[in-house]
């Protein structure tokens, strides 16, 4: 492999008793960049991360992380990585500081070194005020930040973040994104799994879309979004007989022709000019006396990405895959 590649996966396969989780995953992440692995529950994101982080042995294929083969030199890999799993893995009974000191000692920083490192990280992640409270009293966002601090105690070259913001409120999510950006600014390579297109968009240089154990698309967020399309305005009218009026009103936007869904009494049109289009549509509907029961802007969702990329709906609700793979 070239020296510029921090994570390389070639044909990773993994079978469980009941199903095959990975059907040959290929990934390449250049040093110092962020790869977003996007996919629904059960797609194989967590399995991939666990293999790359040496927790799980693949049944086929190989992976090289930070210059070392995960199967042959797991200990060398572990010296150079940080892992943040799906659930913030902090000891709730220990204080934030004690959590970090313990990891520092396990990473052989020595007692003094571990204490100094803990202090530095608590400061950097905005946890100094809560440093000596048990982590069980932290909010979800604080716990996630502590979890992230815990993965960087050993100054890793490569970070694996498995759905780092799942279950967080928008503010905590933003704070966490900033923390990740800072780490990347410091030269760390990040592989991040997510179910949110927005998150991949915010953080990732490149995105790999995974579905049913395969990489179905790869590219920059912009490339992916181009495939998915733009934001759309959806107007549901209060009276079915006004549907034609509403369609005429939205046609004024000058972009593409609105699509009319008679069953849902809804008209949808792509938004080419953002807020200006929204304002224009609102005044045009009013001018024509159309009563809107619902008026909303829809962003492309993960479902849309999947629809655009694979032509099938995301299989997020397949119970067997979800249960077995994502634990």
């Amino acid at each position: 492999m070239s020296t510029g590649t921090a994570i390389l996966a070639e044909g990773l396969r993994k079978r469980y008793a009941t199903h095959t989780a990975l059907h040959g995953i290929d990934l390449e992440v250049p040093t110092g960049t962020v790869l977003g692995v996007l996919g629904p529950n059960g797609a194989g994101k967590t399995t991939t991360v666990r293999i790359l982080a040496t927790l799980l042995a693949p049944d086929g294929g190989r992976a090289v992380v930070a210059g070392h083969d995960v199967a042959r030199e797991p200990r060398e890999v572990r010296r150079r990585i940080g892992l943040s799993g799906q659930y913030a893995a902090v000891d709730q009974m220990l204080t934030g500081r004690e959590n970090l000191v313990l990891l520092g000692r396990l990473l052989r920083l020595g007692r003094r070194g571990a204490e100094a490192r803990a202090q530095e990280l608590l400061d950097r992640f905005g946890l100094l005020d809560a440093a000596d409270r048990p982590a069980g009293t932290y909010s979800g966002g604080m716990r996630r930040r502590l979890d992230l601090a815990a993965c960087v105690v050993g100054d890793p070259e490569v970070l694996f973040l498995d759905e780092p913001t799942t279950g967080l409120d928008p503010t905590s999510r933003n704070v966490l994104w900033n923390v990740v950006r800072e780490l990347v600014g410091g030269g760390v390579t990040v592989l991040l799994t997510t179910q949110y297109l927005e998150e991949a968009d915010e953080l990732a240089d490149r995105v790999a879309v995974v579905d049913a154990g395969r990489v179905v698309a790869e590219g920059s967020p912009d490339e992916l979004k181009r495939k998915v399309g733009t934001d759309r305005l959806e107007v549901t009218v209060a009276r079915p007989d006004q549907l034609a009026q509403a369609a005429a009103a939205l046609a004024v936007l000058g972009g593409r022709v609105p699509t009319v869904d008679e069953d849902a009494v809804r008209v949808t049109v792509p938004l080419e000019h953002g807020l200006d289009d929204v304002a224009l549509a609102a005044s045009e509907l009013r001018r024509r006396g159309v009563t809107a029961a619902d008026f909303q802007v829809r962003r492309p969702s993960l479902d849309d990405v999947f629809f655009a990329l694979t032509g099938t709906a995301a299989k997020a609700d397949s119970p067997t895959q979800e249960g077995a793979d994502e634990r």
């Binding site: 982080a53 927790l55 572990r78 659930y87 893995a89 220990l94 004690e98 990891l103 396990l106 048990p134």
Partner: protein, 267 residues
């Protein structure tokens, strides 16, 4: 050499984590101590005049070794629970992603749970002294009795670790732990002499290694009634049976627990 030292330091750091838990939430210690203490008061004190053990002049003396052995049995559930919760919450994943040995995680737990067992044992025996239990014999023999109990506790906590890595379901672990405690202690000579049990149960209680451990401890503490030495092989050679049983359990359970732990991480 430095590798060994690093290994020991890891174990120390991880054991320190559990000891912090113990200080912060003494409930766990309470769990391990409560059942034996309640049994000591309920059976050893309230029923002491109703239960007679052939050849024994003091029921408090007779029951103490059995109660002390219960401390080791009571620890199985909490140990298993601790292991299962660490697996569930992803802490084990975090430790396994560090460049440390997998076994240090479990050995760290085993050591700290030994501290729990020792403290619980001291508390229960302290209560026993208050209620009238008296060991007879030199300090060496009394100490040896405690050493036997701690060895028993060590073996049982590995049983707990195995349970935690393989069962993982918190409710199921709770139930199994309680079952182990009740069955193994009632089906032994802890409360009554084996001769006082229904005929068909006697062989099971006789060969129950817990009976042997209790007999050894009772003898070392000078609490063994003279008649107890009459009976089958286990009754006449409790030391041999106890040593063999504990040895066999240890050499089978420790590797199984380590394997179960690796497999649990791989799920």
């Amino acid at each position: 050499m430095t590798v060994t030292l690093a290994y020991l330091a890891d174990i120390g750091a991880l054991a320190g984590r559990h000891l912090r838990h113990l200080r912060r939430s003494p409930g766990r210690l309470f769990l391990v101590t409560m059942t034996p203490a309640v049994m000591l008061i309920a059976v050893g004190y309230l029923f002491r005049d109703s239960i007679t053990v052939p050849g024994s002049s003091s029921y408090e003396d007779y029951i103490m070794a059995g109660i002390a052995a219960q401390v080791a049995l009571a620890g199985v559930g909490p140990t298993a629970l601790g292991v299962a919760v660490d697996l569930r919450d992803g802490l084990v994943d975090r430790y396994r992603s560090l460049p440390i040995s997998a076994s240090s995680v479990l050995v760290g737990r085993a050591l700290s749970d030994m501290v729990t067992a020792a403290v619980a044992l001291a508390a229960v025996c302290g209560l026993g002294l208050l209620l009238g239990w008296r060991p007879h014999g030199g300090p060496l023999r009394i100490g040896a009795g405690f050493a036997v109990l701690l060895a028993f506790a060590f073996v049982m906590l590995w049983v707990g670790i195995l349970l935690g890595t393989t069962m993982r379901n918190v409710e199921a672990i709770d139930g199994t732990g309680a079952l182990i405690l009740v069955v193994l202690s009632f089906l032994s000579n802890a409360y009554v002499a084996v001769s006082g049990l229904p005929n068909w149960l006697r062989p099971a209680a006789d060969w129950n290694p817990v009976s042997s451990v209790i007999s050894v401890c009772r003898t070392l503490w000078g609490n063994q009634p003279p008649q107890a030495a009459h009976g089958g092989f286990p009754a006449t050679h409790p030391g041999v049976v106890a040593a063999c049983a504990l040895g066999v359990v240890l050499v089978t359970v420790v590797p199984a627990a380590l394997r179960g732990f690796r497999r649990a991480v791989e799920r």
